[in-house]
């Protein structure tokens, strides 16, 4: 049974890089056998391939949820209405597009859990805001608990 933890986002865009920072920390932790940690970057549709074939996937991403900066929420795709990126270009597709296509083609793993972190700022800058940096520890522990469950 393969379990994949995939961080997505752009570390050059401030808090958009929280998923990448989180998988960086998770990769340094002891993980159960069969658990893989992947830096998905801004690969868009490539994410579909990174997920394909896994028994379960945890995605970590910056998500605009209207919450306080640094707030962490766990949800599955069916629980939310997604609006992703600019249109349906699928060039550097957003999560919403990836899920739509994956669902239509029957390529999504049976279990995909998303850990969303509310960004404070998404702008051209390397490094996270203090609120989001502080949320990293919580993200890492909650993802580890998810994997262990």
């Amino acid at each position: 049974m393969s379990f994949r933890i995939i961080g997505v986002g752009n570390p050059l865009m401030g808090d958009d890089g929280v998923g990448i920072a989180a998988v960086g920390r998770l990769a340094a932790r002891p993980l159960p056998e069969g658990v893989e940690v992947i830096d998905g970057g801004t690969g868009g549709l490539t994410l579909l391939e990174l997920m394909e074939g896994a028994a379960a996937v945890v995605l970590i991403d910056a998500v605009e949820m209207g919450l306080a900066p640094g707030a962490v929420a766990r949800f599955i795709a069916e629980e939310v209405r997604m609006e992703g990126g600019v249109g349906l270009s699928l060039h550097q597709a957003g999560l919403a597009e990836v899920f739509a296509l994956g669902r239509a083609m029957g390529l999504l793993p049976p279990r995909v859990v998303i850990f969303g972190v509310q960004p404070a700022t998404v702008e051209r800058r390397i490094g996270l805001s203090p609120a989001v940096e502080a949320a990293l520890a919580e993200v890492v522990e909650r993802v580890l608990a998810e994997v262990a469950a």
Binding site: G9, N10, P11, L12, M13, D16, D39, G40, G41, T42, G43, G44, L45, T46, L48, E49, L50, D61, A62, V63, E64, M65, G66, F75, E79, V80, R81, M82, E83, G84, G85, V86, G87, L88, S89, L90, H91, Q92, A93, G94, L95, A96, A100, L101, A104, M105, L107, G116, P119, V122, R124, I126
Partner: protein, 425 residues
């Protein structure tokens, strides 16, 4: 009467088109997609040369390998580092891998909907499942090629200053070779599909610019060449390519011998037609393309020809790499300062990076010129010539033709973030 197309679909970034029908001309064209690299130039200041390529790799999720390889070559030029034949072959293989990834995405996901009369590929996931499955299969091949050589499907981690920090396994390259050969039937079906598409008629020759492939098809190289004749060492690109501003746009335009030029698949194919693989040349014929092509809509078909060439050359490159014996090589010493420039052929055209480092190897100045910025002036010139010829068409069809022309260039924002927005329901 005016036609306004705001937020043109199926391209990256934002493009707005305005056509003034009373005066039968294009009243405005704004592609808000090309200014962002400037911000990254500032982001790189003060960084050690070993940190520059990993940062650059994050600029773009579509062209991360091209940015990485242009960046490494620029740093190597600045520091006087030369790389081995094995490194050059592996990097060239990586460039073809990215061309496959990017071109297949544009061909199937951006262009096919235009010709099959749907708004996006999503409806086809139900009505033409075979087609979407083939698109995903082919794209995966490009991704896996990049993964095996670059260590990741996007944002590569193995290429480094002086060579490669880790080499692919020989067995993984052999498996890739097998899959590249096995992809030929999928490519044949792709060619059949695209050869059935009616490409809009339009002729406007321009200046076509690419790297000189030095006997091979353009991918990497030290000389920039123009179809108008001039040639210039890549190191001196800034003396040839002039960026300039116009009153009607906030973006920078680029010129060489004429007010505008074009880079990308059509420019490469025209300037290096004789260097295409035999199979690619045959496919070019089937798609109505040769070295004399002057219809910018045909850039789409040139992209498919390059996919075929890329698959064939990737097979040969893997053979050459394995035959020579894949072996770990010590990385050359790199230290000190200096200035240098380099270019690679990214999927959309020639991409320049230029750096200056101080004595401690910290970056003082950076310049990055992306293909879409170079194509912008030419896209506008095409639109200005095209609009008056289409005024008899119904408004909807006219709009579609203009959008298709812009999409034929596959313009791409060079940095982007797609922040997911959710509403809990």
């Amino acid at each position: 009467m005016r036609i306004e197309v705001r937020h043109l679909a199926r391209i990256e970034g934002h493009a707005h088109l305005v056509v003034d029908l009373e005066r039968s001309e294009l009243a405005g064209c704004r592609l808000e997609i090309v200014e962002s690299p400037r911000f990254f130039e500032a982001m790189l200041q003060g960084r050690h040369f070993s940190d520059v390529a990993p940062i650059v790799a994050r600029i773009c999720g579509v062209c991360s390998h091209s940015h990485t390889l242009a960046s490494l070559a620029a740093t190597e030029a600045a520091l006087g580092v030369t790389v081995s034949k094995q490194t050059r072959r592996l990097r060239r293989l990586l460039l073809f891998g990215e061309t496959l990834q990017s071109h297949l995405l544009q061909l199937y996901f951006m262009a096919v909907p235009d010709y099959l009369g749907v708004g996006s590929l999503f409806p086809l996931a139900h009505s033409r499942r075979d087609l979407v499955a083939r698109a995903l299969r082919l794209k995966k091949l490009g991704n896996d090629l990049c993964h095996v050589v670059g260590g990741r499907p996007v944002h590569p981690v193995t290429p480094c200053v002086g060579g490669f920090a880790a080499l692919p396994e020989a067995a993984a390259l052999q498996e890739l070779r097998r899959r590249l050969v096995a992809a030929l039937p999928d490519l044949e079906e792709t060619v059949d599909l695209f050869s059935s598409f009616p490409v809009p008629d339009f002729a406007r020759g321009t200046e076509y610019v690419c790297l000189d492939g030095d006997g091979g098809y353009p991918a990497d190289g030290a000389t920039l060449c123009s179809s108008d004749g001039p040639r210039v060492p890549v190191a001196a690109y800034a003396t040839a390519i002039r960026e300039y501003l116009t009153p009607h746009s906030t973006a920078k335009f680029a010129r060489w011998s004429r007010p505008s030029y074009t880079v990308g698949p059509l420019a490469r194919l025209k300037n290096a037609f004789a260097q295409l693989s035999p199979m690619a040349r045959q496919v070019a014929g089937a798609l109505g393309l040769d070295a004399g092509a002057v219809n910018p809509y045909l850039a789409l078909m040139a992209r498919l020809v390059e996919v075929v060439h890329g698959v064939e050359e990737a097979i040969h490159l893997i053979d050459a790499i394995l035959l020579a014996g894949l072996r770990p090589e010590p990385l050359p010493e790199a230290a000190g300062g200096g200035a240098g420039a380099a270019a690679v052929e990214a999927p959309r055209g020639v991409l320049f990076h230029a750096y200056a480092y101080d004595e401690e190897g910290r970056l003082e100045r950076a310049d990055c010129v992306i293909p879409t910025a170079q194509n912008l002036g030419n896209i506008e010139a095409d639109l200005r010539a095209l609009v008056p010829t289409l005024l008899d068409l119904p408004r909807e069809e006219l709009t579609r033709r203009l959008e298709m022309l812009v999409r034929a260039y596959d313009p791409c924002i060079s940095c982007s973030t797609h922040l997911l927005k959710v509403e809990f329901v």
